[in-house]
Symmetry: C2
Subunit: 147 residues, 2 copies
DNA sequence: GGTTGCCCTAGAGCATGGTCTAGGGTTTAT
DNA sequence: ATAAACCCTAGACCATGCTCTAGGGCAACC
């Protein structure tokens, strides 16, 4: 049993356009064509496509995914290189996750400030200070433009 | 004391180009100009720029950052809208983080497969099955192209 | 055998987020 | 008063990752 590109698009929630784009980019070297030149996806192909989606959804670049898929095509001998590629990616993703968590703390601080009962006063004070800082430096006050 | 765009670029690790780009995009409505038309950043501006960086680094779109900064310019009265914007963003970021963690598990599974002492055999078996699946469906075997 | 619905490729177009160039003014030091 | 080192804008250009159009083939049904 094989699947047409349309069926795969439905299964994977990728668009037909995206699947063809990935193929054009060399991300699907494992997909065979039938006698009409149509792509014929096997169940095994869907597994590889799932791996591809995981890599893509964790932010791996297309060029790196292509490299990984090329290694996959080369069989077991490329396992060391695959490990290296995936480990590097994994480390980058974890670092990125930590960076985002750190930056999100700042957002949380803003949110708790806005949640405080004195939020209006505190924000008002900050604004007054910012305006004062401008005029103290002989600068126009940008806060009085649209108010 | 104010800072030139170059000094701010050094402090923030954003390029001068990026700072001007952000200004052009309406992300820096709080930055005043001196008499020569030069941007003059105050310390208060740097705080807002830091907030901006946190939003950007957590993946907020420029259009949403612009909206947030516009609300900031409007003073304390916009606090409810700011809360809504930040909360929506926060939730989206957390959901994204969870999705990435989930997809990264798949990468981890691959890595532990590759780490297994039987990795070569297991990967070889998978490959053999994939090839068999192709030929069983009357398809060319894509794995025998570059080997 | 014609209509419908799917498939294909090549290549144009688009959204996002920068990055850089050209042309020109300002400030500082010599 | 001129060079060096800044600053400015407008707009071109670029990389990434799609998304869509044009033009054409294949397959199934009526």
């Amino acid at each position: 049993m094989t699947y047409t590109i349309k069926q795969v698009a439905e299964k994977t929630h990728l668009s037909i356009y995206t699947l063809r784009f990935y193929d054009k980019q060399g991300l699907l070297p494992f997909v065979s064509r039938d006698q009409s030149g149509y792509r014929a996806f096997t169940d095994g192909d869907l597994l590889l496509l799932h791996t591809l989606s995981c890599l893509k959804d964790t932010g791996m670049k297309i060029s790196d995914i292509r490299q990984y898929m090329t290694l996959v095509m080369q069989g077991p001998s490329s396992i060391p290189q695959r490990q290296q590629l995936l480990r590097t990616h994994r480390d980058a993703v974890l670092a990125q996750q930590r960076a985002i968590a750190r930056n999100l703390q700042e957002v949380d601080r803003k949110l708790s400030l806005y949640d405080s009962p004195m939020a209006t006063d505190l924000v008002g004070l900050e604004l007054a200070a910012a305006r004062k800082e401008k005029t103290a430096n002989g600068l126009p006050d940008p806060f009085s433009k649209l108010r």
